[in-house]
């Protein structure tokens, strides 16, 4: 169920240049049902900035009733968010959308998880859940530069991890697709989140494979009411269009017209 919760900040730290990891506690955590779902955050109690910011859930700890988000402090909203301190309250709406289908990969099978920049965070909870059920995860993480890369250690703990940076300052130089070529196709499924050009490249490279992609789109309501976040679809679905916020953000590869 979607709820509006005043969550309490239990941690906030800069884990890379302008990249923040924030921990939040509240009853909303109990409503999260799959990795890849997101929350819609009101960064200020005033009307400036006005709109909520959609941010993926990066990690869930049901025992501690805590969730982690990882975001880049870039514009006005995310900068304000980065100034919140432990103990502060934040108005959070969620959980929203439909996440990655963990059930599409069976124990013993292998999944490739490809993330780009601030598309990497939701893959962390996904990998935790997949590995917990006995799926082998291979991670391919792309960043612009080394100083904005994050969570390498965390992913390594869960499985084989490859890093690519555009300028070659960490891992191999180039894009995630360059690394993907080296991995080959001995896997069952792939899951990806990142900028549109990357999703397009991943989908093209893995034509014929079963995959799931998480999309980004500018949002208004975040719950399916305003038609801000629509994408056109391909003929692989009966739907004429999809709303990223409520039908997605995760869709099977090939469904959304990129």
């Amino acid at each position: 169920m979607i709820i509006q919760d005043r969550m309490r900040v239990t941690g906030q730290r800069e884990i890379a240049k302008n990249i923040f990891e924030m921990k939040l506690t509240g009853k909303l955590v109990g409503e999260i049902n799959s990795p890849g779902q997101f929350v819609h955050i009101r960064v200020s109690d005033s009307f400036e900035p006005l709109l909520r910011r959609p941010i993926s859930i990066a990690s869930i700890d049901h025992q501690a009733n805590e969730m982690t988000i990882i975001y880049r402090a870039e514009g006005r909203g995310t900068q304000l968010l980065s100034m919140k301190k432990e103990g502060d309250e934040v108005d959070v709406l969620g959980p929203l959308g439909n996440g990655f289908p963990v059930g599409e990969t069976s124990p013993g099978e292998t999944a490739v998880l490809i993330g780009g920049g601030i598309g990497v965070p939701p893959l962390y909870e996904l990998s935790k859940q997949l590995t917990a059920k006995g799926v082998t995860c291979i991670h391919v993480l792309g960043y612009q530069t080394a100083d904005v890369s994050f969570y390498e250690e965390e992913f390594i703990r869960l499985g084989e991890t490859y890093i690519a940076t555009v300028d070659g300052t960490k891992g191999s130089a180039g894009f995630v697709t360059d690394v993907m070529e080296k991995i080959g196709d001995g896997f069952t499924t792939y899951y990806s989140c990142g900028p549109m050009p990357m999703l397009n490249a991943v989908q093209t490279a893995y034509t014929g494979k079963r995959g799931f992609l998480s999309f980004e789109q500018r949002m208004g309501c975040g719950i399916g009411a305003c038609f801000a976040c629509v994408c056109e679809t391909t003929d692989k679905t009966d739907k004429e269009y999809i709303k990223v916020c409520s039908d997605g953000p995760v869709f099977p590869a090939g469904v959304v017209s990129i």
Binding site: G220, G224, A225, F227, V230
Partner: protein, 304 residues
């Protein structure tokens, strides 16, 4: 006696608060969050004769205390609304105001005729003010004669009272208001969005794919208040006011300016529970103001 009750042509409102068209879809999403029967009414998303996909994305952009949108009247079309959306809303004890849009008189008339027969549609809101579609819509809303004629044509076929939604993107909104009143309108809803643009800092290009969008949210409230203040003094028909309503105090302002009821648009995105919150707060706000019945506030600003 319900202190918040308001009676308007076709509408027995439990309270004067209703979500504005386009900011509430057809109610389903918000229906998952709270009981829609709490609302005074619901203004549903614009309905056109044929289904529409709308404009390319990005369709929204944030601005200082506001937002621009260029959705482009995406909706499932008259048939889809009649078969799926309106019957679903029948489970709630709430009057529906159907926002009707089109490109020429004939399709406005056809939509109005059919949709006004739905059992829960208690009034129409004629949208002659959408700034985001190429033809029709706003061209009716910026020309007094065309606004008059369209209103008259729709009045002739509608089974329920007709409210006309005015655009602020005109030189003198009073002229349009008087024209639709003369055309037989039972009420006025105002304002629709103000046309605006936002540019990308890096590229200098417009952020919205449609180039221009409609401005809404707290930023437009002073403009809306001024227009309601003016129009309410030159027409006899009631006004449902909107534009930036985000908290209870804003409702009081619109009523004082001359509106009889108030619609809440963009604020639903900021706080999806804003309508029930305002409804809950209104009685104590009336106490504060020493007012018994909410209608007593209507038009305070221009009383001698």
């Amino acid at each position: 006696m319900n202190r918040l009750a308001v009676e308007l042509p076709g509408l027995q409102l439990k309270n004067p608060i209703m979500p504005a068209s386009g900011c509430f879809g057809f109610g389903k999403e918000y229906g998952n969050l709270y009981d829609l029967s709490m609302l005074g009414a619901i203004m549903i998303k614009a309905t056109t004769l044929d289904k529409r996909f709308g404009n390319p994305t990005p369709r929204v952009a944030e601005t200082a205390s506001g937002m621009l949108n260029a959705i482009g009247l995406q909706n499932p079309g008259l048939q889809g609304v009649m078969e799926n959306e309106l019957p679903w809303l029948e489970q709630y004890d709430v009057p529906i105001i159907a926002n009707v849009a089109g490109t020429e008189t004939a399709d406005y008339v056809e939509v109005a005729k059919t949709i006004s027969m739905a059992p829960n549609v208690k009034a129409l809101e004629l949208n002659i003010s959408c700034p985001n579609v190429k033809c029709g819509g706003i061209t009716f809303g910026t020309n007094p004669q065309q606004a008059h004629d369209l209103t008259a044509a729709v009045k002739e076929v509608s089974e329920v009272p007709v409210y006309v939604k005015l655009s602020p993107n005109v030189t003198d909104i009073k002229e349009i208001a008087k024209a639709v009143e003369a055309g037989g309108a039972d009420g006025i809803t105002m304002i629709n969005t103000l046309v605006g643009m936002r540019l990308d800092q890096k590229t200098g290009r417009p952020v919205i794919a449609n180039i221009t969008g409609g401005l809404s949210g707290p930023a437009v409230k002073p403009v809306a208040i001024k227009m309601v203040y003016e129009v309410s003094q030159v027409v006899q028909i009631p006004i449902i006011g909107m534009g930036g309503v985000s908290e209870t105090a804003d409702v009081i302002d619109f009523l004082s300016a001359g509106a009889s009821a108030v619609a809440v648009g963009t604020a639903n995105f900021v706080d999806p529970f804003i309508c029930p919150k305002i409804i809950e707060e209104l009685p104590s706000k009336l106490d504060e103001l020493g007012v018994n019945q909410i209608s007593e506030l209507v038009g305070r600003s221009h009383r001698l």
